[in-house]
């Protein structure tokens, strides 16, 4: 079966005084309906990888295939959840969620009605008229999630979407994400530096080496049963086994990355 998303031999080199190769020869496949988490030390080019998959960044070499077709321009099938604040501050929550529908030419009333529906689905009923600055960090992430999912993308690219949240809010959001994902099983490429998050969410975890010239150095199938509760699953024996196995591989890279940051 053709994978939903295939990165084939992707290399990204940034020109400059010292040209810098962020990722080299990276190949990752995401099957239809699969939840893939990519972990790697801080600053290893994870976001670069995701930007390539989204079509926001053209790779120096390699091909991105979306459902078998080589990607040109933006990846129209993908929804993207950013790490940083991405809501338009001058639009209310409902108008932010409705934005994508309006860009696609849906009329205002209908798109707002559907936005309210989605706000309710992410637990923000009645907050439609609030502006982003009036919402908490967790609420803004929910709005961003609704904004992405309302367009019904066939795949979701997530760049450490919950890294700015406190631990409790984060686990709530992770559970909600799993619940939303379980309904229609979109393909997900989830980037994180948090191994526990990766294991508790994903079907498969891909480990990246420390940068520069990052590449995948291992992948692990996560055979934990679903549905999962991210807080509870962390206490199971199988989780700890998986965690230990992956951490052995990741630890060396984290130390390498740390040493580079300290000296570079």
């Amino acid at each position: 079966m053709t994978p939903a998303l295939a990165l084939e031999q992707i290399t990204c080199t940034f020109a400059g005084d010292r040209s810098y190769t962020a990722i080299r020869d990276v190949s990752i496949e995401v099957a239809a309906g699969e939840f893939v988490a990519v972990v790697g030390p801080t600053g290893c080019g994870k976001s670069t990888l995701l930007n390539v998959a989204a079509g926001l960044l053209a790779p120096s070499a390699g091909t991105v295939r979306v459902e078998g077709e080589p990607l040109r321009g933006l990846n129209r099938r993908a929804g993207y959840m950013f790490q940083a604040e991405c809501l338009m501050p001058w639009r209310s929550a409902a108008h932010n969620v409705a934005a994508g529908l309006q860009f696609r030419g849906l009329d205002r009333v209908e798109s707002l009605r559907r936005a309210e529906e989605w706000l309710a689905r992410v637990g923000l009923e009645g907050f439609g008229s609030c502006y982003p600055h009036q919402l908490s960090g967790g609420m803004r992430k929910r709005v961003a999630l609704a904004q992405t999912l309302i367009l019904d993308p066939s795949m979701i690219l997530m760049d450490e979407p919950f890294s700015s949240l406190d631990v409790q809010t984060r686990q709530l959001m992770e559970n909600e994400l799993l619940e939303l994902w379980a309904r229609d099983r979109k393909s997900v490429l989830f980037i994180t530096h948090d191994l526990e998050e990766a294991i508790s969410l994903a079907d498969r975890v891909v480990v990246l080496s420390a940068g520069p010239a990052t590449c995948p150095i291992g992948q692990f199938a996560i055979d934990l049963p679903r549905p999962r509760d991210v807080a509870e699953v962390r206490l199971t024996k199988r989780f700890l086994e998986l965690h230990q196995r992956i951490w052995e591989l990741l630890k060396a890279e984290v130390l390498k990355g740390y040493a580079q940051q300290k000296h570079g």
């Binding site: 989204a54 993908a78 950013f82 860009f103």
Partner: protein, 265 residues
């Protein structure tokens, strides 16, 4: 008792402010009545107030105020429109902006009041020459704010809008324009103030109507009391204008966190 004590500081402050105003007029009155300051040059506050009141009672002032207001509003609207359009264009067209940069800097650095005589020749002594002067003042404020506003758009917000499917045209309308207008609104006080300055200075340098014209006329007749009356009316009018702008700003920038609005003052 408690509820009274919470609003009394504001009331008391306003009382002190009013007292200060009376004190200034009082000192002015004493200095000129006693002859310490010559009345010919410094006027007499009672006459100044009488002249002002007479303007309003006779209705003579309304026409002139109307003219000044029309000039201000036109200068503001045209200057803002041009600043917005050209600011957006140059911010999104790097080649043109590189080409024009030194000229824009030069035009902004030039004291534009010296253009008033040229505008009088081009547009006559009517409203248009004052509007033109006001536009040159307003344009640059708006232009630089819009330029900044577009450069200031968060790259993440931009990338997000693109991923949500915005076309180039939609990016302009739904991302760049709102971001730029936010900057325009935050400079609203300055730009409407400049439109007002353009109108009054233009009138003062040559006109047949407007509050600036009244001042010019009185000055020609060495009627210092009427000059002060004109200044009084202009000041009150400027305060009123500022009040309206503040109210407008509160409505239009509702989406901004309160702290950000404070910063722009």
């Amino acid at each position: 008792m408690r509820s009274r004590s919470t609003d009394s500081p504001g009331v008391r402050l306003n009382a002190y402010r009013l007292l200060l105003l009376f004190a200034v007029f009082g000192v002015w009155h004493i200095l000129t009545a006693s002859g310490i300051l010559p009345r010919f040059f410094f006027g007499t506050p009672t006459v100044v107030l009488q002249n002002t009141a007479r303007w309003f009672i006779s209705g003579k002032i309304y026409g002139h105020l109307g003219v000044t207001l029309v000039e201000t509003v036109l200068a503001f609207a045209i200057g803002t429109g041009l600043g917005l359009a050209i600011g957006l264009w140059l911010a999104l067209a790097p080649i043109a902006s590189n080409l024009l940069e030194p000229y824009i800097k030069a035009a902004n650095a030039m004291p534009r009041v010296i253009l008033a005589p040229i505008f009088s020749v081009w547009f006559g002594l009517g409203i248009l020459s004052k509007v033109a002067l006001g536009v040159t003042l307003v344009f640059f404020i708006v232009f630089f704010n819009v330029y900044q506003g577009v450069k200031d758009v968060s790259p993440v917000v931009l990338a997000n809008a693109r991923m949500l499917g915005a076309t180039r045209h939609q990016l302009l309308r739904y991302v760049y324009l709102p971001s730029a207008t936010a900057w325009v609104f935050s400079s609203l006080h300055t730009s409407i103030g400049m439109a007002f300055v353009g109108a009054v200075v233009g009138e003062y340098l040559g006109s047949s109507a407007g509050v600036g014209y009244l001042i010019l006329q009185a000055e020609g007749a060495f009627d210092i009391n009427t000059v002060f009356a004109g200044i009084l009316v202009l000041t009150a009018f400027a305060l009123l204008l500022d009040f309206v702008v503040t109210a407008l700003e509160k409505r239009l920038l509702r989406w901004r966190p309160a702290a950000a609005i404070v910063e722009t003052h």
